[in-house]
């Protein structure tokens, strides 16, 4: 029985991770970090606090910038990143 969500951080410097399962009701990542429930498979979760205007890093590259403060564990997508 899975009690935590699988994820991948594609580069060491990334501040987001990608969720690898559909267990959206769970509230922890396998490394113990708390996350907001409801984030779908393939979507991103912040693994560090990202201040408004700061770069969002995935694959070790800047894929966008935070449009508001994003706390660790929060869903990162078009509503808070562009």
């Amino acid at each position: 029985m899975n009690t935590a969500r699988k994820f991948i951080r594609l580069a060491d410097r990334d501040n987001v991770a990608t969720l690898l399962d559909d267990l959206a009701h769970l509230e922890r990542l396998t490394d113990g970090m708390a996350l907001r429930p409801g984030i779908p498979f393939g979507h991103k979760v912040a693994v560090a606090d990202i201040a408004a205007g700061k770069p969002v890093l995935k694959y070790g590259v800047v894929i966008g910038h935070a449009t508001q403060d994003i706390p660790a564990g929060e869903h990162v997508h078009v509503h808070n990143c562009t």
Partner: protein, 389 residues
């Protein structure tokens, strides 16, 4: 296995200093007119590799240049041990003989129109092929550094798993291969639209940045001329539903297979890289075409990341298929070389999977057939952009 064993593979030494991972006896038809002859001749040597693309006459400008460069790349490819070139007429035959007499490997040329009928042409061709087969029979493999390998990076049938498993695993391997002094080529210019910031931050020189950006912009203009606004509609609503937030994030799904090294060069179609490191090649996105470009530039192997299955490969550069989609891995087990789905399903790390990819590369470079070779997948296709005369 000791690190020193892993750093080498048994390869075929060529007189020009290059190393091959195969010792193909190549039967090459240089124009569609000799394709049937090539087919009949190739039956005299069951293990030979027949390459009979639909090479044309009447090509104009750049298209002729590309077709010639593809031909050069096939004859001088490091995986070719000996080659029988079929020409249609005496004039072309003489020109090709001049061009390839110093190809550095057993070589023969047959002029179709010199024959007295088809049976005679086939007879002459078969005799030449048997002589060439004898010339390379028992050629030894000797240890060669893994860093001598030029790997082509390809992806196709891409899905969400490609961006998370297959391509990042290939990228992790490529980082190590390049750090060890190896060479890699990535192509498919259209996939780089939207990834311009990556090119700006990852090119070795400003000149390389400008060259690559110019190729991307040219491809985007072609799309616009066809009424497509790639940048405007991407990421698509489907992409966004799947979790992709920005165009650059989408582009990275494919570009992840290049790892993190700097781009050392920008190549035209089938143009061999000068020097080691990572190179960008300007090619169309259709995988058999882009693989033709990279193989004819001298790539020894292709690392092909996929999500849903893609049945293409390259006939000359053994193609290693890496897949991270568990459903595809179940359905196409007989056609894939590395199951990377453990990243999704079994807590495998990119490093572990890159280790396994390296093992597969060493095995295939040393002579184990890749699945694409088992099935004889692959074709040589030279792209054309102008109407022929």
């Amino acid at each position: 296995m000791h690190a020193s064993d892993q750093d080498t593979f048994p390869g075929f030494r060529r007189s020009d200093g290059s190393v091959g991972v195969r010792n193909h006896l190549l039967v090459l038809s240089t124009v569609a007119l000799t394709n049937r002859l090539a087919e009949l001749v190739s039956r005299a040597a069951p293990g030979c590799l027949l390459i009979a693309p639909d090479f044309m006459r009447g090509l104009r400008g750049h298209d002729q240049l590309i077709q010639d460069r593809v031909l050069d790349g096939l004859v001088s490819h490091p995986n070719v041990g000996a080659v029988l070139v079929l020409a249609h007429d005496a004039a072309t035959g003489n020109a090709l003989r001049e061009r390839y007499r110093n190809a550095g490997r057993p070589f023969d040329l047959l002029v179709f129109m010199d024959a007295h009928g088809m049976a005679d042409a086939v007879e002459k061709g078969r005799a030449a092929l048997v002589r060439l087969a004898k010339a390379i029979e028992g050629a030894p493999r000797t240890p060669a550094p893994l860093s001598s390998l030029v790997v082509a990076l390809e992806c196709g049938g891409s899905d969400a798993s490609s961006a998370l498993c297959a391509n990042p695993v290939i990228g992790r391997f490529v980082d190590r291969h390049l750090a060890g002094g190896g060479t890699a080529i990535v192509s498919e210019t259209a996939e780089f639209i939207g990834a311009e910031p990556i090119i700006r931050s990852r090119s070795a020189t400003r000149f390389v940045t400008e060259q690559i950006l110019e190729r991307i912009s040219r491809t985007e203009k072609m799309m616009q001329e066809d009424g497509e606004d790639y940048r405007g509609i991407n990421p698509t609503p489907e992409n966004i539903a799947a979790g992709l937030t920005t165009l650059i994030e989408k582009s990275m799904g494919a570009i992840a297979k290049t790892g993190h090294a700097l781009f050392n060069g920008c190549l035209n179609f089938a143009e061999p890289p000068q020097g080691k490191g990572l190179h960008f090649m300007d090619t169309p996105f259709f995988s058999p075409v882009s693989m033709t470009g990279m193989a004819c530039a001298g790539a020894h192997l292709v690392l092909f990341g996929m999500g849903v299955f893609n049945p293409s490969g390259n006939p000359l550069a053994p193609t290693i298929k890496v897949c991270g989609n568990p459903e595809t891995v179940r359905r196409w087990a007989d056609s894939l070389d590395l199951d990377a789905s453990g990243i999704l399903t079994a807590d495998k790390t990119l490093d572990e999977m890159a280790d396994r990819l390296r093992d597969v590369v060493v095995q295939v470079a040393g002579g184990s057939q890749s699945r694409a070779e088992d099935w004889r997948e692959g074709q040589i296709i030279a792209p054309r952009s102008l109407p022929a005369l």
